[in-house]
Structure formats: C-alpha cells, structure tokens
Symmetry: C2
Subunit: 380 residues, 2 copies
C-alpha cells in the first residue's frame, strides 16, 4: 500500500512547477485529477522539447503527468464551476499556479474555498510571491534563476552568468509545495483544519542558496568567487573542482593539500601548509593540480588519489551514465503506456518505501479523458 492512498488531489496547474508536485503525490499513492480547459488542456501539453510530441502532447507532459486523470471544465462557465466546486468539496488537496488574482476573479481563492471545504489543503506556486515589484511578472524558471543571483555561482570566474541547465526553480519549488502539502495533511488529519500553503520559484531559488546567502550576510559581505578554472563551488577551498586529464575529466571534492601533493608526486604543494591558504590561494593551487593531472589518464589518477583516501571521481555524460552498471542496477527506467497504445520510457520516483521502488504503468491522460467517468462517480 502506498502512503497517500485515499488522498484526492485536484491539480489546477500548468507547465512544470505545479505538475511536478502532483507527480510526486501520485507517485506516493494519491489520486490526482488535473482540471483542464476543454479542447487544448493545460499549456504544458505544448512545451516543445526537441520537437518531440506523442499522442498530441509533448514528451515532457507525458513524463510529468503520468498516472493522473484529466477532467475538463471551463472555469468561466457557471455550470462547469458548480461541478468543479462539488469536486473541491470532496478533495483533500487542491493546487494551482495561476498568477496572483486569477483564482480570486474565478471565485476559487482560498477564502472562498475554505468555506466550502474547511479541511482542504490549498497549495499555490507563484513566480515571486504575491506582493512586490515582481509579483505580476510571468513566473518562469529562467527568470527566477536570473533574478536569484544563482547564475554567478556556476561556471568559471571570467564566464558570463551561467544558469543551471535545467528547470531547477520549477522542480525545486515543486518539492517545497509537496512538503507543505504533506505537512498540512498531517495536521488536517489530526485537527480537521485545512491550510493555505504558498511557495514561489524565487523563494525556492533563494532557499537553494541558503549556504551562499548566509555566508554573504555574515562574512563582511563576502561575495561569491568562482574559481579561475574548474569551479564547482564558490565558497569552498581548493581542491574542490573539475580537472582535465589526458583522456577526460575528473572531480576532486575533499582532500588535504599535503595528501594531494603526495598522490600527484609533486613538491610544489608543500608551501600550502596553512589551511587558510587553501581558500585564499585556491586558483593557484587548482592550476598546480591541473598541471599534474593533464599528463596521465583519468583511471591512472583515480587509483593514485583513492589510494590516499582522496574523494574523487570521473565525470560522465548522460550516455555514459545510462550505460553504466551503477545506473542499471538502480532500475530507474520505467515504461508507460499512453492512451493511444504507444509506450514511452521515463524515470521512476526517486523515493523507495519498504525496499520497494515505485513504478507506474499509465502515461498522462488525453484532455478530458476522465471527465465522464468522474462526473458519474461524483454525481456531477
């Protein structure tokens, strides 16, 4: 039995952040019904990833919305709205990621809804919160990254600002929404009281940088300093970084500079005895390491370094990962069957429960695929 069996979630969400929270809830056993506009469904169905579409929706949509149901309603239509409110009365959770003000106009804001269903967990994701100069801006991953300062933590010193190459603000705010929903459910089960849970892309990106921001706020306004070459963390000492070898790349995480010098067979490191210099002379030390590592292959160095207890590893790309025994043993791939019978491969839920991996079999629904069935079930 999955832990959230019996929990009913209504998802008034589009694109990635909100649906990623719904995905985790369905993976953990909840029943998630997407409330979509008739005909076109939610906007995320049309996100173009490498021009890949299957059964009229994007591949990304199928991955994000597996195992959910679709109920169509025009929220501006009075009759449809009555039915949606009947569903809301039966739900444990509802989520939305409309811009501030939209749900108020529709009469589906928390103040109205909690009268209908006092136990409901009402959860929303905005771009930047509900007040302030950015509140009305489109809530979008790259914008949240660019505002948040995070682009100056990644890449090397002279590089332009470098975003993380995936939708980290969407995904991370989705995990925060899920946490808030689950905590709210724990309380609601015990007390009968619902809750309003709010997160935003920007606040999640700030939270992701709690380490850097805390350092900045307390350390005489320490600014993050990316390494000259091979930067992996703007606030950590050498040798933390990426290095080129004769046939590839490796990372070194933690090591004493003395051990490192010995493993590399170089006396040049002996002058960095004082641990403070490992931060202050980071670029110089990293250059010395580079000068050694470039001379031999990765496997040669990994053996030398690990013999000294130095924490290091080769760098793989996606293809190398997927073909590696270490990936295959995790059993991460799952196959979903779509409504039209086509099958797609995607990744499973990363949380294991009682030694069981959680797999799904159903792809994302077509627009309105479950409308009639849900209407019957709930007497709409």
């Amino acid at each position: 039995m999955l832990p959230l069996e019996g929990i009913l979630v209504l998802e008034f969400c589009q694109y990635m952040a909100g649906p990623s929270a719904g995905l985790k809830l369905t993976d953990l056993g909840a029943r998630v019904i997407k409330i979509e506009r008739p005909k076109f469904g939610e906007e995320g169905r049309q996100i173009n990833i490498k021009n890949l579409f299957i059964d009229d929706s994007s591949l990304l949509f199928h991955a994000l919305n597996r195992n959910k149901e679709s109920y169509t309603a025009n929220l501006k239509d009075e009759e449809d709205l009555i039915n949606v409110k009947k569903l809301i009365q039966k739900a444990n959770v509802m989520t939305h990621n409309f811009r501030p003000g939209v749900m108020e106009t529709l009469g589906l804001d928390y103040k109205t809804i909690k009268v209908l269903n006092p136990k409901i967990i009402y959860a929303t994701i905005t771009g930047y919160g509900t007040i302030g100069p950015w509140a009305k801006k489109p809530g979008q991953d790259l914008l949240a990254q660019s505002i948040s300062g995070v682009t100056y933590l990644t890449g090397d010193k002279e590089d332009p600002p470098t975003p993380m190459g995936l939708a980290v603000a969407d995904i991370f705010s989705g995990t925060h929404l899920t946490q808030g929903i689950l905590a709210g459910l724990i309380r609601s089960t015990q007390t009968g009281k619902g809750a309003l849970i709010e997160v935003s892309l920007l606040e999640s990106m700030i939270d992701l940088q709690f380490e850097g921001i805390t350092t900045y706020l307390n350390g005489d306004k320490y600014k993050p300093t990316r390494a000259r070459n091979g930067n992996a963390h703007a606030f950590l000492s050498a040798p933390y970084g990426v290095y080129k070898t004769n046939d590839g790349f490796l990372v070194i995480a933690l090591a004493s500079i003395k051990d490192l010098g010995e493993a590399l067979g170089s006396k040049a490191f002996t002058k960095y005895k004082n641990q403070k210099t490992w931060f202050e002379k980071k670029d110089d030390i990293m250059e010395l390491i580079n000068n050694c590592l470039i001379k031999e292959n990765s496997s040669y160095w990994i053996e030398k370094l690990e013999a000294k207890g130095i924490v290091c590893e080769e760098v793989f790309n996606l293809e190398q990962l997927i073909h590696h025994e270490g990936y295959q043993i995790l059993n991460f791939d799952q196959v979903l069957t779509l409504t039209n019978g086509e099958k797609i491969h995607t990744t499973r839920c990363p949380i294991r429960i009682n030694e069981n991996k959680i797999f799904s079999t159903e792809g994302a629904p077509r627009v309105g695929e479950h409308t009639d069935q849900i209407a019957k079930e709930f007497n709409l």
Copy 2:
C-alpha cells in the same frame, strides 16, 4: 500552530543532505534531536566555508541545524546505546546518512528498530543506493553530480563539464527524504504502520534530470546539446538563453522568433519561420540576437522586448538581489541567537502557511547541549 508540532525526530546525520531534511522538519514544527558523538559532534560542524566559524562550529552548520537539540552518545558504548534505544521507542521519525552497513553493525538498522518501535518512520540517505559498484563510495555532492551526467547540461558547448555551483545533490535528496518521511507519517498516523524510506544523492540527481533523460531515452538517443554561447537549457529552442548587452546581461526565456525580430528591429530573423528551425538553428539564431543586444543597455532592451510580450529579465548577482526591493519585500532574512549570545543572519523556510512566514530564533546547539535535559525528560 505549525503542522508538525508533536512529532519527534532523531537525527543521526552529518554534513548536509540529512541535516537539510531535519531542518525542514523543524521549520515545519517538529522537535528534532541530533544524536552526536561526544566532544566533536557531527562532522558537519567543521565544514570550512570561507574560513568562517562561530562558537566552534562552521557558519554553515549553524544555518543547517538551527532550532535543533543536541544529545551526545557513543553508539559503540553499551549503556549509551540502551539510552538511545529508549529515545527511539518514543520517536516518530529517525534519520541517518551513514554508509550502507554501519547501522547494521551498531544494531540500529531498520529490521532491529521496527521491533522496538513498529510505528517509526526510518529514513536514510545514501550516496548511490545500497547495492552496485558505487555503493561503498563516499556519498558526496560533487561526486554525485559528476556521475549523474548533469555537468554536461550546464555551461556552453565548448566548456568543460560544469557542475552546478552549490550542493544541489545534497539539498535535493534532502527534499526527497522529507517528502518520504511526511508521506510515511500520514500513513503511520492512520494505520499504525511504520516505514523504511530510502533516497540517495545519485537517484535525486537522476530525478532532477527526468526531462533530459526521458528525452534521451525516447528520441533516438538524443544527446543534450549545449548552446554555443549563452546556454540555459540543452533541450529547448532559441531564444532560450543568456545574452550580453552593452552594460550587463539579460535572459530571454520564451518568444516567437518573429516577435523577437520585430522587437530587435532586425529583418535577419524572417527566414526562421518554421518553428523546427528554432531548435535546429539555435546557435545561429542566438548569435543574431547577441549581435543586436550588445548595442544597447539592458533596460533599453527589456522595455522593447516586454512591449512585445517577450518573457525576459535582467541578470542579477547575489548583491544586486539582496539590495533589490523585490527581495526585501519577501522578508527572507532571519536572525538566530547562538548559545554564546552571538547573532547570525540566515534565510528562512521557503514555505508559507496560512499567510505566515516561518521564522526561528534559536541557532544550532553546542555539542551535547541538551543531553542532561533530554535524559531527565525521558528517564534515561
């Protein structure tokens, strides 16, 4: 009332991933007791971030362990172990991030513990799962990133592999552990049954890339292609990326190339009518955009682009963010008082509940600060 009030968590964790889960649980109202080795406490107290230490522990440790209690025990000492097991019998949750095998040797593995406390949620983070070639490797953020393939998604085409410049594997696996724990608590409250929750750094990094991996697995083995300049997402079309202007940088997320050409006052874009070319000719289109944007200041272009409904924004660094009205209105800073009376600034919990932001006042505990008090309270 915070949602997790009344929940008792024992944290047998060190460094970042495990403690970050405990941090979210205490932020949401749980009582979190760190079980630490006598004298030195957990390893994370000594993580050196920019050489900043306060009251004998690192600044990062204070930020990650605020509002927790510390109980010291030598887990290899029989008497201490008896007391720890008494605590476990009273706990709702226990977490650890020891390497596979360590808790078995101590007799604190799930099989043993569930006999003592059948309702407990027993949650663990490993580096790479419990089996396979990587199971015995040190579970470390940069290693998990380097194995996961994610370093080839960030940065530009000719750049070396580029890690995300913060501990994303630690933090993201911490959010997954929290999700599993909370879902487990929901079920445990209803059924009286506990659960074993397992996540790993590597699986969380794979999950973070679900979009890219799904594309790779279904699209004739599509390899991620970083843009030549200004890459922000290896699987999305132009104009998605970072651009240099005359006085800084801006990002453009979503736009039709036609609208963009008009906003930039250039006819060079008219040949990219077919939307498929926006992906296939991404580098050429991005270069054309760059050639225009470099001629004027960011504010000039933001106005032009937004007038066309193009989703774009200036790029800020941490300092610009923190001094911006949009950050200050979020009220993200909080001040913690440490045991020695010193105060530090850090960020608050990113989840808001019933329109309330969650603030703490207490810093992290000293090693064993609450041992006597807890011994008394639980009759140890």
